[in-house]
Amino acid sequence: MTKQEALFEYVLRKADDTLILGHRLSEWCGHGPVLEEDIALTNLALDLIGQATELYQYAAEVENKGRNEDDLAFLRLEREYKNVLLVEQTNGDFGKTIVRQFLFDHFQSLLYERLMNSADEQIAAIAEKSIKEVKYHLKHSSEWVIRLGDGTEESHNRVQESVTDLSRYIEELFYQDEVDEILIKEGIAADTASFKEEYYNNINAVLSEATLSLPEKMWQLDGGRKGVHSEHLGFLLAELQYMQRTYPGMEW
């Protein structure tokens, strides 16, 4: 694998994480439990899809095969999407959406903090831009985890169930392979192992404040980075890609 191939793959993976999570959040539009949260979740979606646009633009430039950001976002097959499994999981109730967001926000925040110092200027610029938004996301999801976890018996039980359920996707956030190894050597990628402990400390601090806890042991799933997804991604893509598949090249 060349450095250029690794860079394309690396940026694409991050772009797919943000696009798919952004799309999931956009599904809440008009369905939020209260108006303020409906607006909050769609604001988060907008930030993430904006970040995805920047990342796809850069991936397309690195790839240099005449594809643009829209081709990458809309015209690939399921196995070509490289997002982690966490982000494609269904919304469930509001609590599950919040827990999914919480687990991702804490990871993304630590990752971008490091990527701001990437030897790759464009990655550093995107991270510098995005982290300001991610800090808002992080605060929002963390506050809700506490409010729901330390809320009523009903909200506590439901959100604990989501924590348990989604905890099987945490380790995959730190997944690394040849792509990362090549770029870590160049000072371009961040070594996820270097902030894994900090991640667990951060989420555990909030969870304990929320009277919630990660299960002692949970079977961990992965495959997303290789394009092997859960059954949910196909349905998501069917909706995401519908317009471009039905009316190729349409613009509005």
Partner: protein, 165 residues
Amino acid sequence: MTTQELQSQDLWNFLEDVKDPEVPVLSVVDLGVVREIENIENNSWLITITPTYSGCPAMQVIEEGIKERLEQEGIRAQVKTVLSPAWTTDWLSENGRRKLKEYGIAPPVNEVDKSVLFAEQTPVPCPSCNSTNTRMVSQFGSTACKAHYTCNDCLEPFDYFKCLK
């Protein structure tokens, strides 16, 4: 005015007429979105802009607005978008802050670092009665750059142009 006499300051002045479509009281200059104006050759200029938020849907409209306004002056302009250094509310002009308040939107106050979760919030004064006895209803408002507040004294709900650093 002949084109030979055009100085970049003239272009800055023209761009005062281009408003942020989401907060039409602010110009793109007030907002700090226009970063640089450079003369490429003769009548051709390069305008460098930076987005407020990654997903800000106004950027395209702003870019077109800039080109259109300069075209009215017979100026050919290219618009380039850069991400770094990343936009911050520190770039809002003093004029912009005043206009926001008059418009009923509370201008950004210096906030504590958000990554310090649950730190005490800096109070946001009500744009109507100046009371600092206000509360945040939601961190996310009608557009990416705003949060939603309510004044506990005059009971007025208001938008807060939130701090981004």
